[in-house]
């Protein structure tokens, strides 16, 4: 059966190797896929986030809840970092909203593959909650190979698996952070930065992507002093728009 919308990259020619008979087993298959290298990177990243929460004296259960509900590490870091530096709640909400804007294209592009044959809105909304960087990357890789009948429950399994890994890691990182020698806690705090840098490099393809990463990254030291999310507006909105224009100019030139 063909996927409901035509997409260029994920090639469905190699079908998923395992074909469970029942819905429940599709769920288990999804859970099992969450125990992978990206799952481990996520674990490491959230250990770092837990350490960050502890270092900034953020309450424990609210911290775990932030992983479950927000489920987007950059947004969570902006939230906690903003609270720690005493920025107002409204600018923080704005910055969180801006950083989470990237979820929109991710969900739009993954949604056709997370859907089974149904068309129920609430099921789409549930599965959309699981979408963040890791889920998007793994979903792009795995979901197109699945028969549509298994997609919804498989996505649930994969999403819940990744969430459980991350919530446990948040708790472990939080509890560990106070006990570690200083050099180790520095390492923990930096895990997010380094793993995200590498995931971005791995995920980038084409001129637009590379320009967007470079502009977003390189403008930051110059605008970091600006308050109230203005820095993210310039680096993100400005840098991203410029990268888009460059990419479009290149495409036109080739065409």
């Amino acid at each position: 059966m063909p996927p409901p919308s035509p997409t260029p990259h994920p090639s469905p020619e190699q079908p998923y190797a395992y074909h469970p008979r029942s819905t429940f087993l599709w769920f288990v298959a999804g859970l099992r896929e969450s125990l992978s290298v990206p799952g481990f990177v996520l674990f490491a990243g959230y250990i770092g986030y837990g350490g960050l929460l502890q270092g900034m004296n953020f309450p424990f259960f609210a911290g775990l809840l932030s992983t479950f509900l927000v489920w987007a590490l950059p947004a969570q870091i902006i939230l906690v970092g903003g609270l720690a530096s005493g920025v107002g709640l409204l600018p923080i909400a704005l910055a969180v909203g801006l950083s989470s804007m990237r979820l929109l294209p991710m969900v739009v592009s993954l949604a056709p593959y997370m859907r089974s044959t149904h068309n129920a809105l609430w099921k789409d909304l549930i599965n959309a909650h699981f979408v963040a960087m890791t889920m998007w990357a793994e979903g792009q890789r795995l979901l197109p190979k699945l028969p549509p009948s298994g997609r919804f429950t498989f996505t649930m399994g994969l999403g819940i698996g990744l969430l459980l890994i991350s919530i446990s890691a948040t708790a472990i990182g939080y509890q560990m952070a106070g006990e570690l020698p200083p050099a180790m806690s520095v390492g923990l705090q930096f895990l997010t930065a380094i793993s995200f840098t590498l995931l971005m490099i791995r995920g980038a393809e084409g001129v637009t992507d590379w320009c967007a990463l470079a502009f977003g990254f390189l403008t930051t030291p110059f605008v970091a002093g600006l308050s109230g999310g203005a820095d993210l507006m310039i680096s993100g909105l400005g840098g991203g728009t410029l990268a888009y224009l460059i990419g479009r100019a290149m495409r036109r030139k080739r065409a």
């Binding site: 997409t7 900034m56 004296n57 953020f58 309450p59 259960f61 609210a62 911290g63 809840l65 509900l69 927000v70 950059p74 947004a75 939230l79 970092g81 609270l83 709640l89 909400a93 969180v96 804007m101 990237r102 979820l103 294209p105 739009v108 592009s109 809105l121 959309a128 909650h129 200083p182 050099a183 180790m184 520095v186 390492g187 705090q189 930096f190 895990l191 930065a193 380094i194 793993s195 840098t197 995931l199 971005m200 490099i201 791995r202 637009t208 992507d209 320009c211 967007a212 990463l213 990254f217 390189l218 930051t220 030291p221 820095d231 680096s235 993100g236 909105l237 840098g239 991203g240 990268a243």
Partner: protein, 114 residues
């Protein structure tokens, strides 16, 4: 430092963290049935999303908070560069890059802080 009790923190997580994030996911589900794959609008949103993420990660490196403040900028940058180097050298493995970058940082931090 954050001075919040558990319940106000939970409220803040819901209002300031969950709502501004989940809004985009829900919007994507509702609007996504109409947005064309590969359309110019989607390409632009994607590009802005990538730049934003890069800016957020760059903030963690250039203007960190917490214990990372004690680590000089050059060491943070060397750690990232070593991580990227290992990633490229070892079959584009994120795991290898993270391990090497972390070893450089923890080693450097241990050496500086002792």
């Amino acid at each position: 430092m954050i001075h919040l009790d558990e319940w106000s923190a939970i409220l803040i997580v819901i209002l300031v963290g969950f709502l501004p994030t989940e809004m985009w996911r829900s919007l994507a589900v509702i609007a996504g049935r109409r947005v064309q794959e590969g359309s110019e609008l989607l390409l632009w949103v994607r590009s802005v999303a990538a730049a934003l993420l890069a800016a957020i990660v760059a903030r963690l490196i250039f203007v960190p908070t917490g214990p990372l403040v004690d680590i000089p900028l050059w060491l943070r940058l060397v750690c990232i560069l070593c991580g990227i180097g290992a990633f490229l050298a070892i079959r584009r493995s994120v795991f290898a890059g993270v391990v090497v970058g972390e070893l450089v940082l923890i080693g450097g931090a241990w050496w500086l802080l002792h």
